[in-house]
Structure formats: C-alpha cells, structure tokens
C-alpha cells in the first residue's frame, strides 16, 4: 500500500466508517496516520477532558462532525454536583477561531449556554445538524439563535435536556427561506409553542422526515401537520387529547391513513386513551415505539395497542404494562431487538409492576433480543438462567431491581449464578448493569466470561476488593467502570494502575477507597486525572485515612483541567 498515491489511500479509507476502525488505521504507520487524519471528517470524543480543542483541530483539519461527551454517566442520577463541568464553550470558541467548517455537533451530558449556541450559529456557514442529549444550561433564546442564523439547518434534535423555556417564539425565528429541515425534535420543551409558526415551518419543509412535538402541541395542530407532512417517518405526538366524537378527531383518523411512512412513534405526553384507535392503522408498520412517557395509557389499552404492532423492533414502555402485558409483547413482536421497561413509580411501594416472569416470557417469544433495560420488582437466578439460554445474543443487558440488594425471592440466594449465566452465554455482551444481592462471585464470572465487555455498572454489590480485581484483570476490553456503594478499597484500586490508561474512565462513590489511596494512584499515573468530589469540606484536614466520597478518574493528554470548581480536587 505504500506505493499508492495518497489519494488512493484516502479513497480506500473512505470505506472505513467507524471511528474505532479509523483510529486503528491511523496506528499502522506514519503515512497512514497522515492520510487518515487529513481525510477524517467525523470525530468522536468520549470524554471532553481527555484532550483539548487545540489538539483536535491540529490533528483533524477536515473535521465536519464532532461528537462530545461531558459529565460522567452517574450525573444522570444526581450523583454529580451541578457545576462539575463539561462546558462546550471552549470547544465552540476554538473551532470558530479555526478554519474548521463544522457541520454537525452532537453533545451528551454537557453544559451548553445560550452564548455558546449563539456563537455556534454565527461561526459556521454550513452548519447542518445539532443534537443535544441530556444537556443543560441553555434556554429558548439559544434555540432562537440557531433557528435564525443556521441557513442550511437540517437537524435540530433535543433529547431529554433541561431547557429554560422563555417563550414559544424561537420557532418563528426560522426564516421563510429555511426549507431544509429534515429532523426537528423539541419534545423536551416544557413551554408553549407558536402553533401557527410550527404549521408554517412544516409546510415549507418538504424534506421533513422526523418531527417530535412537545406537550403544548394539541391534537388539532397534529392533524394539520400530518396533512402537510404525510411523508414523515418518525413522529412524536404532543398532547394527544381530544373528544373522540369531534370532527377534529375524525379528520385525524383519515389523515393518518395517508401517513404510510411512519416507522417510529413516540410522545403521548398527555393522552386520552379513547383517541388511540386512530393510530392503529399505522401500528402495523411501526418498527419503533416509545411509550415511556405515556403515563396516561394503562394496562389494557396499552396491550390493545401493542397487539397491532407485529413488526416492532424497538419498544420502550412503562412497567404498568405488567407481566401479562409483556406476554402479549412476546407473542406479538417476534422481531423485537430492543426492549426498555421503565418504572412508572420509581419510589412507589411495590405495587408489583413487572417481575422475572415478564422477562422470561419475552426471552421465549423474542429470540432476536439484543438490548435490554429492565426495571423490575424482583428477579430470580432461574429466570436469568432461562433468559441467558433463550437469548444468547445480548449486547446490552441492564437489569435494575428496584430494591437494590434484593436476593432471589424464591431461594433467598444472591443473583451471582443468574448473572454468571448471562455473561457465560452472551459472548457478545458489551454493556452490563447489575443489581440485586451480589457477592464477589458475580465479578469472578464477569472477569472470566465477559470478554467483550466495555461498560460495567455496579451498585451495592460485592464483598471485598477481590470483586473489583476480578473485573479489572479479566475484562480486557473494559472502557468504563462505574461503581457505587460497594466495598472496594485501595487494594482493588491500586493493584493494576496501568489498567486505567486502557480505559476511558473509572467512577467510584461510597466505596472504601481513601484519600491516601487516590493520592498514590495520582502520583504513579501522571497521565490520569484523579478527581475527588468533595461536597462537604471533610477533607480540609486532609487525613489520608479518610474515605473518599466520590472519585472520578480518566485518562487525558492535557493534565488537570482548569475549569474544575472548588469542590473538585485533581490530585
């Protein structure tokens, strides 16, 4: 290959799409490294503090699409204090000062300000796509800037962000000349929307394929929108409430019949169940259904709806579907690949929602299942063993028993054997979340069998340092390990310090690790940032024997970060 001109190499590399493969390509030799980096357009940065914007810009001058992730995963569950970090501003500033022609920005768990959005909207003439997931710090003012200034905007996708909603006028900021929208998702906005502006926007967006509305959009508007955009592939309804005897509802029923392309359906943030029959005709074609925010649809109506969805590949629902409802899913949705069952009452006192029986039924009926997130009241080893046998193709297996240290209720055993069966059977498992009563044994099994495991989430599990060490020693592909409330201490942390440079990050909170242990680690591994989150000023005296409440460490090229708040110490 060294005798080919660069253009040929580049052409070959064009077929190498995944960022991991491209990273591998760039390690082959200097020539390949150079050709690869000059031709790379899409870059994924899993931890925004692992490198600096300057390094990114210097290496990839042809960058068009950037994905950045900020806060650690446990920030989703309020375990990370508010001002921890993850600001996108320095990235946007640096990119705007460079010659990079950014077209797409995808952010997850980052702090985004209106100022950042404004700068973004003004700096890149060809900017096309903004995707924000679980971000915060901005308001509809920032959205207005994006709408107004990004002349060729194709995608604005806001997923589960905390947005201060100041007014519905941002939609009116899309100029009349903007006709390029393909995807618009504002379901997470809490405020009112200018409905007329929305309808006009849809009317002048012939390429619109994906539209997810918020709660403020009533059924009348939905009807008008669907009339204008029967080509939609992905629809998220807003408020789905109306009088089923009304003319509007009648019109909706007829309009929906024309929407033959809809494959993804979501929303129903408010719902009048008697209006659901209107959507039955499109259920036949659905491959993805997200009713996880549809708290207004209960047991029997939910089941009735699902009976129409024979082609479903992805289903997100609330646990009020019950075990019986999951049996219906199992007998109807033979193509199911991904299932998420969320708790409808996270702090409720066990009015039994779903149990191991629902999961076993699914595993029997849906052998193609490869991704699972399952919140349940209880789980048994026998059930997990059966699931492991029925579904050997799991890539993601996340089980959350609502009572975090609950044993197998039939045998009163820990769930070690059940999870052991899962990791042993599912050879392609990449992500695993554990719960229930668990001893060091489960970690032994994970270390032995979970060869492809990249991410492990542990809570209230294990007996001793051995547990954590089994995992660190055995899981060669481990990239992210997050542990809370488990008895792992300095010995586990310090036995194999080199391991952490092969991983993206390690989170440990409410464990047995001490300040002294963390200091030792930081000293031995200068290319790691070992951050201690110290919310209660316990450490002012600085006793090395004191347990660290929260530790987050990650590999980095750029040393301690300069934007850490007072309560974060980088050792």
């Amino acid at each position: 290959m060294n005798y080919f001109p660069d253009e040929v190499l580049e052409h070959v590399f064009d077929f190498v799409a995944s960022h991991r493969d491209r990273n591998a390509v760039s390690l082959v030799c200097r020539l390949w490294h150079r050709v690869e980096r000059l031709s790379r357009q899409r870059v994924f940065v899993g931890n925004c503090y692992a490198l600096s914007p300057q390094i990114l810009i210097a290496r990839f001058p042809g960058l068009k699409s950037l994905t950045l992730k900020g806060k650690p995963h446990f920030a989703d569950f309020n375990l990370v204090p508010h001002d921890w970090g993850g600001y996108v501003q320095p990235w946007i500033e640096a990119l705007s000062n460079s010659r990079i022609g950014l077209e797409e920005l995808r952010l997850k768990r980052m702090v985004v300000s209106d100022e950042s959005l404004e700068l973004l909207s003004r700096s890149f003439a060809n900017f096309k796509s903004l995707v924000l997931v679980s971000c915060e710090g901005f308001t509809t003012v920032g959205l207005a800037a994006i709408a107004a200034n990004c002349r060729f905007l194709r995608e604005l996708d806001l997923q589960e962000n905390e947005i201060d909603d100041h007014s519905g006028h941002w939609l009116s900021c899309f100029p009349d000349s903007c006709t390029s929208l393909i995807s618009l998702n504002f379901a997470c906005l809490k405020g009112e929307i200018n409905l007329a502006a929305l309808e006009r926007l849809v009317a002048r967006s012939p390429n619109l394929r994906s539209l997810r509305l918020n709660r403020a959009v009533p059924l009348e508007t939905l009807q008008n929108i669907l009339m204008r955009a029967p080509q939609l592939v992905d629809l998220g309804t807003g408020s789905y409430v109306h009088d089923p005897d009304s003319e509007t509802y009648n019109k909706l029923k007829h309009t929906i019949l024309k929407c033959k392309s809809i494959r993804n359906l979501s929303g129903f943030l408010e719902v009048a169940p008697r209006c659901l029959p209107a959507i039955y005709p499109i259920c036949l074609n659905l491959t993805s259904l997200n009713l996880s925010y549809a708290a207004g649809i209960h047991g029997s109506e939910l089941v009735k709806l699902i009976r129409h969805c024979a082609k479903l590949q992805r289903l997100w629902i609330l646990d009020c579907i019950g075990d019986k409802g999951l049996e219906v899913v199992a007998s109807t949705c033979k193509e199911l690949q991904e299932l998420r069952v969320f708790p409808s009452d996270p702090f409720g006192v066990g009015h039994a929602a779903v149990t191991e029986n629902g999961l076993v039924a699914i595993s029997v009926g849906c052998p193609k299942l490869h991704s699972l997130l399952y919140f349940c009241q209880q789980m048994t080893n026998a059930a997990l063993i059966a699931v492991a046998k029925n579904c050997p193709n799991f890539i993601r297996f996340r089980l959350c028993i609502l009572d975090p240290t609950k044993p197998d209720p039939v045998t009163m055993q820990p769930l070690d054997n059940g999870f052991g069966a899962i990791v042993q059977s599912c050879k392609r498992l990449r992500r695993l979340s554990l719960s229930g009563l668990l001893t060091d044994w489960v970690f032994l099994y994970i270390g032995m069998y979970a060869e492809q495991l990249e991410m492990l989430s542990v809570a209230f599990a294990g007996d001793s340092d051995k547990g954590m060490l089994y995992v660190l020693n055995g899981c060669k592909k481990l990239r992210k390990l997050e542990i809370r409330d488990s008895p792992f201490g300095n010995k586990a942390l310090l036995t194999d310090v080199g391991k952490y440079e092969t991983m993206r990050s390690l989170w440990m909170s409410s464990c047995e690790v001490t300040l002294g242990g963390c200091k030792t680690l930081a000293k031995e591994m200068p290319r790691l940032n070992v951050e201690i989150i110290n919310e209660h000023d316990q450490m002012e005296i600085g006793s090395d024997e004191q347990r660290v409440e929260k530790m987050y460490l990650y590999r980095t090229l750029v040393g301690p970060r300069k934007d850490a708040p007072e309560f974060v110490w980088t050792l």
Binding site: D76, P343, T405, P414, D485
Partner: protein
C-alpha cells in the same frame, strides 16, 4: 458437593470449575487464600462448585443475612441500603424522566383523589389564558359555583371573569361574545366542558383541572352546553 441439573445449564463442566457460594462452614477463608488475583484463567482456578439447592437453603439463608450484616458494618451509609427510604440516585432513572413522570403523576393523582370519597381534598390546577403561572384550588372548600367564582376572581384579580353571569342563559352568549373570560374544565375522560352545567357535587367529582378561557375561544363548547341546558330545563 451437590451437583444438580443447574450445573448442566451453566455449562461449567467444560471449564472444570466449580462455583462455591461463599462461606459454607468456614471454607471461605481457605478458598480466599488459594485464590490469587492474577489467576483468573479457568485452568488455574481451584474452586468448588456448590450449587444452591433447597436443602442447603437454610445455611445459605443465614449467609445471605450475614452478608447483609457485613455490609452494614462496612460503610457508614449502608443504612441507606436497606431502608425503604429513597437512596440518592436510586433507582437509576434520568432526572429528566423522573421529573416528567412526577408532573404527569401529579395530574393523574389529583383525579384519583377526586374519585375517592368525600373528605379528601380535591386540588385541581387552574390556568387562565394569558396568566404567567397556574394556581391550585381545593374544590372541596367551596359549596357552590358562586363561591368558586369569587375565589377565582380574587386569585386572578387582574382579569375579569364572566362567571357571575354564566348560569343565566340569555347572558351566556353575551359573555361568550365579549372579551370576558369563561371557565371551562377537563373531566375525568379528558373532555373539555363548560363550567356550570351539572350540579355542584357532580362537578367536584368529575373535574380534573380548570381552564379559564377567553370568551371567544369558548364558543365551540357553548352550543352543546346550551343544548344540555335546554334539555335539562324541559
């Protein structure tokens, strides 16, 4: 060693490993010493598999309890593990989702409470078109539409409410055509109704939330309401 049918399911026989649940008669100590941290390869392991069976259930029951006890001793905040009270960040549900469900639950709980018998409060949200925030009222604290209208008038005192005249049909159309506000409510099945058609107690039982609409927008609701009024009278 009890080797039950579970062993076949596990398929451990090929690795010649036997899993032992910890702490059967003090063997845990021995096993711990034999195990080296670097010895994770199957062939070098020397463990005994003791599958859980109902016969051994008693011992293991004990062990499960001692495991729990040990955990209690380990960290200061293990009390959190076993209390039914909420543990921070558990269950691991995104705050966004939790908040959304709380809002939705709030509005459905109100309707549940309304369905329940007499003495429980009947708080419903009250929104007024154009007002920057919503209020809540407990319908049980009023005995009649008139009392409610006075209370709402005080709450949203900067706006006029046409409620005083709504019981009088001839004035109803005047009210609706003027810029006065008209009270409407969402009933249990999600339909929006004009306030005042049904007896007060029935209204309190069936009202989920109140919305004070601009008179002009309420016209769509009025004809049916008017029709009902007429039928009720005859």
């Amino acid at each position: 060693m009890e080797i039950g049918s579970e062993k076949e399911k596990m398929g451990f026989e090929e690795t010649e490993l036997r899993l032992g649940l910890p702490g059967n008669g003090g063997s845990e100590g021995e096993v711990a010493r034999k195990r080296g941290f670097s010895e994770t390869k199957a062939t070098t392991m020397d463990l005994k598999l003791k599958l859980s069976s109902k016969d051994a259930g008693m011992d293991l029951n004990e062990k499960a309890k001692t495991l729990k006890k040990e955990k209690n001793l380990l960290t200061a905040d293990t009390a959190k593990h076993h209390a039914k009270a909420q543990v921070v960040g558990w269950p691991p549900v995104r705050s966004f989702r939790k908040n959304m469900l709380a809002v939705q639950k709030g509005s459905s709980e109100e309707s549940d409470m309304n369905k329940a018998s007499g003495n429980i409060a009947a708080f419903v949200k009250v929104s007024m078109d154009g007002a920057p925030y919503l209020r809540k009222v407990d319908l049980k604290t009023y005995q009649s539409y008139k009392e409610l209208s006075v209370a709402l008038g005080k709450m949203f005192s900067s706006f006029t409410i046409g409620m005083k005249d709504f019981m009088n049909e001839s004035k109803l159309m005047d009210v609706l055509n003027s810029s006065d506000y008209v009270p409407t409510y969402e009933d249990k099945v999600g339909d929006w109704m004009l306030v005042g058609d049904v007896p007060w107690e029935m209204f309190v039982d069936s009202c989920n939330r109140l919305r004070i609409m601009k008179g002009k927008e309420a016209i769509g609701l009025a004809p049916r309401a008017m029709g009902k009024c007429m039928r009720n009278r005859s």
